[in-house]
């Protein structure tokens, strides 16, 4: 793939550059109170935002195109309101948006991946695909793997550093214990971002206004020939997690409080 090599001929032409897809999900704000409704639904009147990990993905895509020329296409699979998250991506630098509409907030990861694959292929193969490493609502942590597998592309997750070298990409992935794995992948590939990859920019008002004029295409899951697919992982019930009640407070001097605490941890809670 020689997209980075500018031939003499096109030096004075507009650089064609790269095409980057970034997958974004519309999710409830992490600070929102989630109220379970029925067996497996929730009160969706809460504030929704772009999935926080996807912000790193969008930022990296936009920076990469700023350096190399090209375009960033933000793609989301979600309910009609997810159009707001696509617009948010446009406001921070994506060039075009595509929304694949569904009726469900929780779609099987495999279905989401098939929908993403279908739109991406319809739109034309990109050089890179960025995603977040997980969504903060269903916490599935697998859509990027499913997408990569269905498209036959390499994938790396928990990416905290990204660079390009002669046609390939090099990423650093967080492995736990502070270790990082340095991985080289051929292009195109799927890169799942996590915190640390960059500092996402805040959209400025003129950018938000400009984003309203950027092209955004909406389609239905059915338009992609993906009507009803069997679910391999279905959410059958949701339960509110009860917060612990108020703490048992230690009293006295610092020394007394600490001694009392250690005593309770050893003898009541038996965790020391």
């Amino acid at each position: 793939m020689g997209l980075l090599i500018k031939s003499k001929k096109n030096i004075h032409e507009k650089v064609k550059g790269m095409k980057i897809i970034v997958c974004v999900k519309h999710v409830p704000d992490t600070a929102a109170n989630i109220k379970v409704v029925g067996d497996n639904g929730f009160d969706e009147s809460v504030k929704f935002v772009m999935n926080p990990y996807d912000e790193y993905a969008v930022e990296e895509a936009v920076r990469t195109v700023q350096q190399n020329g090209g375009e960033v296409v933000a793609v989301s699979v979600g309910k009609q309101n997810a159009v707001n998250t696509v617009r948010s991506a446009l406001a921070v630098g994506a060039d075009r948006g595509i929304l694949v509409k569904t009726d469900a907030q929780f779609l099987d990861s495999a279905t989401t991946a098939l929908a993403l694959k279908a739109v991406i292929e319809q739109d034309g193969m990109p050089d890179l695909i960025f995603t977040g490493k997980q969504s903060v609502d269903s916490e599935g942590m697998q859509t990027h793997y499913r997408l990569a597998a269905k498209m036959g592309l390499p994938v790396a997750t928990d990416v905290v550093a990204f660079s390009m070298t002669n046609g390939n990409v090099v990423v650093e992935c967080e492995m736990g214990g502070g270790d990082r794995e340095v991985i080289e992948m051929s292009r195109p590939c799927v890169i799942a971002a996590t915190k640390g990859l960059n500092e996402p920019r805040y959209p400025k008002l003129p950018d938000i206004l400009k984003a309203k004029k950027k092209p955004l295409v909406e389609m239905n899951l059915d338009d992609l020939g993906l009507g009803t697919l069997p679910e391999s992982a279905a959410v059958t019930s949701l339960t509110q997690v009860k917060e612990r009640g108020a703490a048992t407070m230690m009293t006295g001097t610092v020394k007394e409080m600490v001694e009392d605490l250690v005593n309770r941890l050893e003898n009541d809670a038996k965790v020391l």
């Binding site: 926080p52 990861s109 090099v170 949701l238």
Partner: protein, 310 residues
């Protein structure tokens, strides 16, 4: 009884202790088959036998793509009904790659599992709700959050089975190197006790009082996002929504306000202690034990008491 695979994670030459709970989960649903990437199966045989692994399948590969292909071949060869593992960085990666090869259902970061019915319980909405997920398909792939299932010994004698299969190339993915974090401390997600510092830590230097305490506990040291963003600690130490999800026996939060996003990463801890100067801090409304006080006095005092007791 069906065969249940367990991907065993090594830490150098040793088995990570958190694998044993996963073996216990496997034994609850069938015959445990351990899958291990190692050159020396003999060395770990005793440990795996102690927790019920009747078969130990050893494999050799370093590239994650090839590892996953081997795992998928084992799933077929041993007709595994499920493949379990730790939902650690490594475990998540390999389970996901293997599930994709087999087009199998996958649930990561599960906190409960019912193999008979193919159901798992996992966190949704950053720990604000739990979801029961019904998995359907041939081989259920499940990554369990470390420490959520207590390991129970179940001595058996195991058969060591070296396994190879054609894995082809690594499909465009190459590991160039592993950069060591340099801390050499216990991995946060594995630690049984964690002591965490928040914004008032005020400098990287001050974290040494937490490290001193962690040494006697013994445990690992974590940080809030406020402390990480201020540069007092690396992101690898961050607990919460955009950091690590941990589930230790004991979590001691020092100078944490008790934000929803921080709790998203640690609310499944068995016991939570809050240390805060503000008696009205939200953390005291959602933890088990509280001390109102300055962490710079309380933490050293705690270290001293623990030292005396040891």
């Amino acid at each position: 009884m069906s065969n249940i695979g367990v991907l065993i994670e090594m830490d150098g030459q040793e088995i990570k202790a958190s694998n044993y709970g996963v073996l216990t989960a496997a034994c609850s649903g069938g015959n445990a088959v351990a899958l291990v990437f190692t050159e020396n199966g003999e060395a770990i045989k005793n440990d795996l036998e102690r927790f019920g692994a009747g078969k130990i399948v050893t494999m050799s590969a370093t590239n994650p793509v090839q590892k996953a292909k081997l795992m998928a071949a084992v799933v077929k060869e041993f007709n595994l009904r499920a493949l379990l593992g730790l939902s650690s960085a490594r475990g998540r990666d390999l389970l996901a790659r293997c599930a994709c090869i087999l087009d199998a259902p996958l649930a990561l970061d599960a906190i409960q599992i019912d193999l008979a019915d193919g159901m798992v319980v996992k966190s949704h909405f950053s720990g604000k709700t739990t979801a029961i997920i019904q998995l359907s398909g041939d081989t259920l792939h499940v990554g369990l959050r470390p420490n959520v299932i207590e390991a129970v010994e179940k001595p058996v004698s195991a058969e060591l089975i070296p396994f190879t299969a054609e894995t082809g190339d690594s499909d465009g993915l190459k590991i160039l190197e592993v950069k060591k974090g340099g801390t050499g401390t216990i991995d946060l997600t594995e630690a049984e006790i964690i002591i965490t510092g928040g914004r008032p830590m005020d400098s990287a230097e001050n974290f040494k009082i937490l490290h001193a305490c962690a040494k006697v506990l013994p445990g690992a040291v974590g940080a809030s996002r406020a402390a990480v963003d201020a540069g007092f600690a690396p992101h690898s130490m961050q607990v919460g929504q955009t950091g690590k999800t941990v589930s230790p026996k004991l979590y001691i939060g020092c100078g944490l306000s008790g934000s929803v996003q921080h709790f998203a990463g640690m609310k499944t801890s068995r016991v939570i202690v809050g240390i805060n100067t503000d008696k009205d801090a939200p953390i005291f409304g959602k933890c088990d034990y509280g001390i109102v006080g300055d962490l710079f006095e309380v933490v050293p005092a705690l270290t001293e008491v623990l030292n005396k007791n040891r």
